[in-house]
């Protein structure tokens, strides 16, 4: 038993931390996240120059990581800097492609940053249910509507799910294909998303079992988001402690008011529980069936609950300053809350976890 990270994972986390310190001041992040494409192509290039995405894939795919702890430690590091660039999509799409024999070169292009891809799976009516898909295939042509597709503009490829008869399959489509329309908009936490309308769009079917690949990828997505949230909470914790140490009211530092002290103590304690939840999910990622599903739901539910608590308490403990665009806290808090709106919120995962009770 050893809860220290391996040397390799520490190294990659340090790389990210240095990148944040050097190239990722919060002002630039906010500007990029609210720009036309929702992120910085320069930083996207730097992230790939540094080889960061290789940590998300195993040696089989030329990576040097790919297991639960690799994913979690990288995304925790990304969260600390509120990195907006779409590494989550690289992870999910890359994981799906890793099941394919025919498309290994695309996977390599994604990891190296030569190509960028979008992941178009959930739909207007889906809610958080991955199985609730109406987009369908006829004669190798896809029709339907995909919603909240992250960073869909300017990609080289779109990975799309669709129902062929009864079975869910996965396809690649060209973003410039006929019949495809992208309605792009901003998201609350910075970045962009889009509704993608597909009207008999030509598609290449992937040589994989769609449900198996999706289940693998979405599980990794849940873990990555949770770890990102943990990193965000770490940073919020630092901001809040620092604020309580330095800001004075009534002639005393805020941190000397016992009512606030006790609330901070609860925040700190809940963050440690969230950290444990991420560790549990990292360890269970390689398991299968109920064990994996339960650990992932336990983790995402914990993140949802603790995330909301930490975001709200940190703003309240800061007072007005915590609500300004100028100060970094709000941007971290927004992303933290929005993570509960991806891949199942607290209520969804508590119901899923308890569905295993018999």
């Amino acid at each position: 038993m050893d809860f220290d990270q391996t040397e390799e994972r520490r190294l990659i986390a340090d790389t990210v931390a240095k990148f944040i310190a050097k190239d990722y001041p919060i002002e630039n992040r906010v500007k990029a996240a609210n720009s036309e494409i929702g992120f910085s192509t320069d930083n996207w290039a730097k992230i790939h120059e540094l080889g960061i995405p290789y940590a998300l894939f195993s040696e089989e795919f030329n990576g040097f990581g790919g297991d639960g702890f690799d994913i979690a430690s990288l995304f925790e590091a990304l969260g600390k800097g509120l990195i907006v660039e779409p590494l989550l999509i690289s992870l999910i799409s890359g994981d799906i492609l890793s099941f394919s024999k025919k498309h290994s070169s695309l996977l390599q292009d994604i990891i190296s940053g030569n190509k960028r891809i979008a992941f178009a799976h959930f739909e207007t009516q889906s809610g958080y249910e991955s199985a609730n898909i109406l987009t369908n295939v006829r004669d190798q042509k896809i029709s339907g509507v995909k919603s909240m597709v992250q960073f869909a503009n300017g990609v080289d490829n779109i990975l799309v799910s669709a129902i062929d008869g009864q079975r869910l399959k996965l396809y690649l489509i060209n973003p410039n294909a006929k019949g495809l329309k992208v309605n792009d908009y901003q998201t609350v936490d910075g970045g962009r998303a889009a509704e993608i309308l597909l009207d008999q769009v030509e598609a290449i079917e992937l040589d994989i079992d769609g449900e198996t690949a999706l289940s693998s990828a979405l599980g990794k997505g849940i873990l990555a988001l949770s770890a990102e949230a943990l990193g965000i909470m770490e940073h919020i914790k630092e901001l809040t402690i620092n604020y309580l140490r330095t800001r004075s009211q009534f002639g005393l530092q805020l941190g000397k008011f016992q009512a606030l002290q006790h609330r901070v103590a609860q925040v700190l304690l809940e963050i440690e529980q969230a950290r444990s939840a991420v560790i549990n999910a990292s360890a269970a990622l390689q398991a299968s069936g109920e064990e994996r599903e339960k650990a992932l739901s336990a983790c995402k539910m914990t993140i949802g609950r603790v995330g909301q608590f930490v975001a709200e308490e940190s703003i309240q403990l800061h007072g007005g300053i915590g609500m300004t665009w100028e100060y970094e806290l709000g941007h971290f808090a927004k992303r933290l809350i929005m993570i509960d709106h991806e891949f199942g919120d607290e209520d969804y995962h508590i119901a899923k976890f308890s569905s295993f009770y018999t």
């Binding site: 909240m148 908009y185 609350v188 009534f250 007072g319 300004t324 665009w325 809350i337 709106h341 209520d347």
Partner: protein
């Protein structure tokens, strides 16, 4: 014990309701219904409509062309405004400065300034908070030095709501550094067009612009703009804070929000069930509705006491806490109901005349921004922490 409104009050409610049905411009009602931002003209327009009807100054005595309504009538009026998707009136002149003027101003001041509030000549804003003085308001530093028949004002105010629209500001200023910090504060009315004033917008996390910094450098203010006595401003400020407590819990607005939330929860689906039938969401909704039902009665109890001349005391602080928590929980559940679409941010879709594509349910466009914006309600007007201090001070008495 009689929990019912009187027949006269019920008749009054119907009268208000009938008036509002025809009085609210549909475009304005649509903005309120859909959480779209109001323009300055929208607010002015509504101000004028109510003024024309004679219902603008709903908390003023008849003597100053107010309605002369009792606290229960005012409560009913607010209830109906919310139910009809009418905006609340801007409070700074009507409900904050006016009572201070009536209580501590001279006859001349009242006769000059009060009519200008009604006819819209002045749009007031409030200069209380400063960068170093949040919860600890009495530590404020903006100074006013008397030079002949003028004050020379220097310093900075912050969190000044809608200062971008205002032409007047009532300001707490420091006129003395002797004694306790509370003892050297004065209450000054300042023309926003005076040389030396600069308004700088503060953008909030939801991307909106409601609040501002107001900077004063060598701003000259006529001494006649002082209200009451020099160095007694703290008393007036506290009077202002404790005066407009009747609708502090914003029951009417929360009832309307709940109604909208229920409609949303019937239309949104999770796993093939309407959200309102999802056991966990329904339980959250029921808990919230029950809290609100309880709070409405708590509020009416305070009003009833107040009608008899009682002093609400700690109950006002309880209502402030409850009201803000219920408002925030309503916003939280609306955000939760938006599900994956809770991340949409399309300010352009909220503009007048927008005719782009529909994306997801429309309420989702403002669900998260409203949630974040309303984190303020437990911070402003005396944070909930300050309210808890007040409650224990009053009840434990230590």
């Amino acid at each position: 014990m009689d929990v019912n409104f009187t027949r006269e009050q019920e008749k009054f409610r119907l009268e208000v309701r009938e008036f509002l049905t025809s009085a609210i411009p549909p475009k304005l009602a649509d903005k309120i219904e859909n959480n779209k931002p109001l323009l300055k003209e929208d607010m002015q327009n509504w101000h004028d409509i109510l003024n024309k009807k004679g219902w603008l100054a709903s908390s003023w005595p008849k003597e100053y062309n107010g309605t002369g309504w009792g606290v229960v009538e005012q409560f009913i009026f607010e209830d109906e405004l919310a139910a009809a998707n009418a905006p609340r009136t801007v409070p700074f002149g009507l409900r904050m400065l006016a009572p201070v003027l009536m209580k501590f101003g001279t006859k001349d001041q009242c006769n000059y300034w009060l009519p200008r509030i009604l006819d819209g000549s002045d749009w007031w804003c409030q200069g209380y908070s400063e960068p170093g003085s949040g919860s600890d308001l009495a530590s404020l530093k903006t100074s006013a030095v008397k030079c002949g028949d003028q004050y020379l004002v220097n310093g900075q105010k912050t969190w000044t709501t809608l200062a971008q629209h205002a032409n007047m500001i009532f300001n707490l200023v420091r006129t003395s550094n002797e004694g306790k910090p509370q003892q050297g504060i004065s209450f000054l009315m300042i023309d926003m067009n005076s040389p030396g004033i600069e308004v700088r917008p503060i953008k909030t996390i939801d991307g909106g612009h409601e609040v501002n910094e107001v900077w004063f450098s060598d701003v000259r203010v006529p001494a006649e703009n002082l209200i009451g006595e020099e160095n007694k401003g703290w008393t007036y400020a506290k009077y202002l804070l404790s005066h407009e407590r009747n609708n502090i819990a914003t029951v009417g607005i929360s009832k309307k929000k709940l109604e909208k939330l229920k409609v949303i929860a019937k239309n949104e689906f999770r796993n093939g069930l309407p959200l309102i039938k999802d056991p966990l969401f329904a339980a959250r909704l029921a808990r919230l509705e029950i809290s609100l039902l309880n709070m409405e009665t708590t509020n009416l109890r305070v009003l009833s006491e107040s009608e008899k001349g009682g002093d609400p005391g700690a109950e006002s602080s309880m209502l402030k806490i409850l009201g803000s928590e219920i408002c925030q929980e309503l916003d939280h559940l609306q955000r939760r109901a938006a599900g994956r679409f809770g991340r949409i941010s399309r300010p352009e879709a909220l503009e007048e005349g927008f005719n782009g594509e529909d994306i997801g349910p429309f309420f989702a466009h403002t669900a998260s921004s409203t949630y974040f914006n309303n984190r303020k309600v437990s911070i402003y007007g005396g944070s909930n922490e300050i309210q808890k201090n007040i409650i224990t001070k009053m009840i434990i008495g230590l």
